[in-house]
Symmetry: C2
Subunit: 251 residues, 2 copies
């Protein structure tokens, strides 16, 4: 029983949409890798096969694979084929007691959180609304980048009421932990109240901080933490490199 291999198996890419074919194909192959479609061999199919599946020239497939090699996802070896170097997404848990480093601990060896900068500034209307302050009230902003195994995973801007937590920046710099910096101000426990998640294309700053290429996606989580009396203590906007992370919600 012969099987139609041409049109029936063809993976569709669309033309004239502002996204180059090689980039569409790179996105599809990246997805296939992360889905485990090529786990049997640990290799991407040969360029000629991919070109046939997508209905494009082999050179177009080569451009796509070159982009994935640039990302460190695959490595081409002349004569052998193109091997998969990396496939997993790191899972980031979101629950009542989300603490960044805890949840990731067993998934990546090296976790680094780097403080990019801090400032004391008047709350914007967005931040004031979230923290239950009046616009213009002073808040401390911490800007951080977190990475796992050397790759940046997220950039965050976090805001704290400056009146209640006057030494937030110094304590964080000293202790390298938000939880410990809260403890230094006499706050021993806090819980996550709500999280809103949107996905969008990365802007220029995110592209550079997360080492992404244009067209890449970020998952933005806007989260609010409060003390056990329900008073907001932290509002943060974290942006995750979507191709490296998933968010796991635990209820």
């Amino acid at each position: 029983m012969p099987m139609r291999k041409d049109t029936a198996m063809r993976k569709v890419v669309e033309r004239q949409t502002g996204v180059a074919l090689w980039r569409q194909i790179a996105d599809r192959i990246r997805l296939a890798i992360s889905n485990g479609d090529y786990d049997a061999t640990g290799m991407v199919p040969p360029e000629t096969v991919l070109a046939g599946e997508f209905g494009v020239n082999r050179h177009t497939v080569r451009s796509a694979l070159a982009a994935l090699a640039e990302e460190g996802l695959v490595r081409a070896v002349q004569g052998r084929g193109t091997m998969i170097e990396r496939k997993e997404r790191v899972s980031y848990p979101i629950s009542k007691r989300t603490r960044f480093s805890q949840g990731l601990g067993h998934q990546v060896k090296e976790i680094g959180t780097q403080l990019l900068g801090h400032a004391e500034l008047p709350a914007t209307s967005e931040v004031a609304k979230a923290l239950g302050l009046s616009p213009g009230d002073p808040v401390t902003e911490l800007r951080t980048v977190s990475s796992g195994d050397g790759r940046p995973l997220s950039v965050s801007s976090s805001y704290y009421p400056a009146h209640r937590f006057p030494r937030m920046a110094e304590e964080f710099e000293r202790l390298h932990s938000v939880t410990k910096a809260f403890a230094a101000h006499g706050l021993d426990d806090y819980v996550r109240v709500s999280t809103e998640i949107v996905a969008r294309h990365a802007d220029a700053e995110e592209l550079s901080m997360l080492k992404l290429s244009p067209g890449a996606i970020v998952l933005e989580a806007q989260s609010l933490n409060a003390d056990l009396d329900g008073r907001p203590v932290e509002y943060s906007r974290s942006r995750f490199a979507a191709d490296r992370m998933k968010l796991k919600i635990e209820t």
Copy 2:
């Protein structure tokens, strides 16, 4: 005090990345609209101004605006300018008791859930693992599209253990509600156990079902619901059009 308007204000777009400039610009303007940056006038800045900000030719900006007009986001009027027609994202709540239509009720006037098809099939390893079955055990699959105010918001594939809920497809078709279809099988209550969220580029099927253009983003939520004894009753993969939705997590 003069202010440098050229380089200081320039919004960066990157070239030769496989994403056409007009599409990068369309994405940035869409984001600015949803952020409310243009709320003061209700209009997008003039084409010549945008061209200056992005450092591109006016025709390139026109291509971007044409794409946004195609999406129904803006409408250009000769002689006046380009008006914003629509800006909001619909918020989709995720909590212990997420029910699709309830949470959206006050945000969109018309909610429609359309059954695309159903089938009884052997569980794949992914579905079996989630539902606590053995691979190959029979499951009922329901494939649906949901829309709000005429625009598609999500496509879902949901899986139910066929032994326990033998008439799932018929009951859903009759009652137009998963909750009621469960009730018809004697299950009165169920809760969400976990949700995993990833963001990625839409594949060809999603582009067509959600009426998106290539390069668009979907938020995929893989969720598991269980009865009050903790036995899994539903596993579903919902894919949301990311530019129309946000997910709100309530703990």
